[in-house]
Subunit: 193 residues, 2 copies
Amino acid sequence: MKNNNKKKSLNPADWELATLDVIAHQGVSAVAVENIAKALGVTKGSFYWHFTNRKDLIVAALKRWQKDDRAVIKEKIWSLPDAHERLKAWFLLSAEPLQSHLIYATLLADRQHDFVAKVLKEVTLERLAYLQKSYQGIGYDEATSKQQALLSYSVYVGYLHMAKTLHGKFKDTENIENYAKYVASQLIHEPEQ
Amino acid sequence: MKNNNKKKSLNPADWELATLDVIAHQGVSAVAVENIAKALGVTKGSFYWHFTNRKDLIVAALKRWQKDDRAVIKEKIWSLPDAHERLKAWFLLSAEPLQSHLIYATLLADRQHDFVAKVLKEVTLERLAYLQKSYQGIGYDEATSKQQALLSYSVYVGYLHMAKTLHGKFKDTENIENYAKYVASQLIHEPEQ
DNA sequence: GTTTGTCAATACGCAAGCGTATGGAAAATT
DNA sequence: AATTTTCCATACGCTTGCGTATTGACAAAC
């Protein structure tokens, strides 16, 4: 787990990335400065040089996650010109095993911290707006596109949890891919008038 | 927050119900014996007479929740003879503001504890089996009913989180009811052959 | 080569929360 | 009425984890 690179010293980005690793697999409440320090091969004497406290670290890490995540979505989805294709891409991206998904799922869990709730709400609203626009792009009216976006996004969030809860019954890639295609077939279609 | 009843002394059930209250609103990790004792108007000297330790309490509370929840579903859904009606009842029940839903949602969050994961998996598999059976009842074949059940259940789980994440934009009853009906209309229909 | 700035180690204080030990009061039993 | 059971209070020890204070090592600047 130690940092074997040639780097002489750490910078805040190193701490933030290590923190995101912990958040992805154990949640925000598992972020302990002394543990992360150990994972980076130093002690917390170093930590308090880079950050003022634990919360400062977590907020910085989440800000980094939010920024990176936005970039990925922009590149992989919003680059597509056709709304129908965008929606399909969205569902496929949802099924990919990205760290970003894990982080989103654990944030849902650690919502009791207000700074987590804030990021979560921002990201969720942004993604919902994207989805809604895409559904409008394939012919849904404003109100219906809103509900359909919410429905689709709920499936995404639900899937994240189901995958964790039922891991083992859900792991093999083929099943996941099949399921993703099924979901897309059910949730992407012209609006019923 | 004190117990104003005429009861002279507490029994394990009192502790379990108080614990479920905490779990519903703050999650498993927020269960602190001294706090729950205070909520019940006693000190932890009492607690360790009824239970051996904190984990014992949580496990007992979750067992109670599981049992009660099963009973509610049995009564409100499985009493219905028609599969189509059962599915509709499921989606409507999902949108009702029950403590049981809150608990389920927080359990998803506190899955890192193995005893939580165990209950969660049991409950989820049981509910999925119910849903699958209902979808088979309206004509889905085995494989498709499985995927459709998973999809529908994901919507449920996703909704629980969305409701918390976007509270305020989601609170008024009318919207929720509308949305529930929309979801039902999208997810309950004869299978496409 | 001396000084300054950067990054990290060690040691400490402190609060929260679990579990234990012990004693006491009230109710039930005999 | 005496005794046993049931339920609870108080006090203590122990661990975890945050944050601070102090010192040190190495590199860059001068």
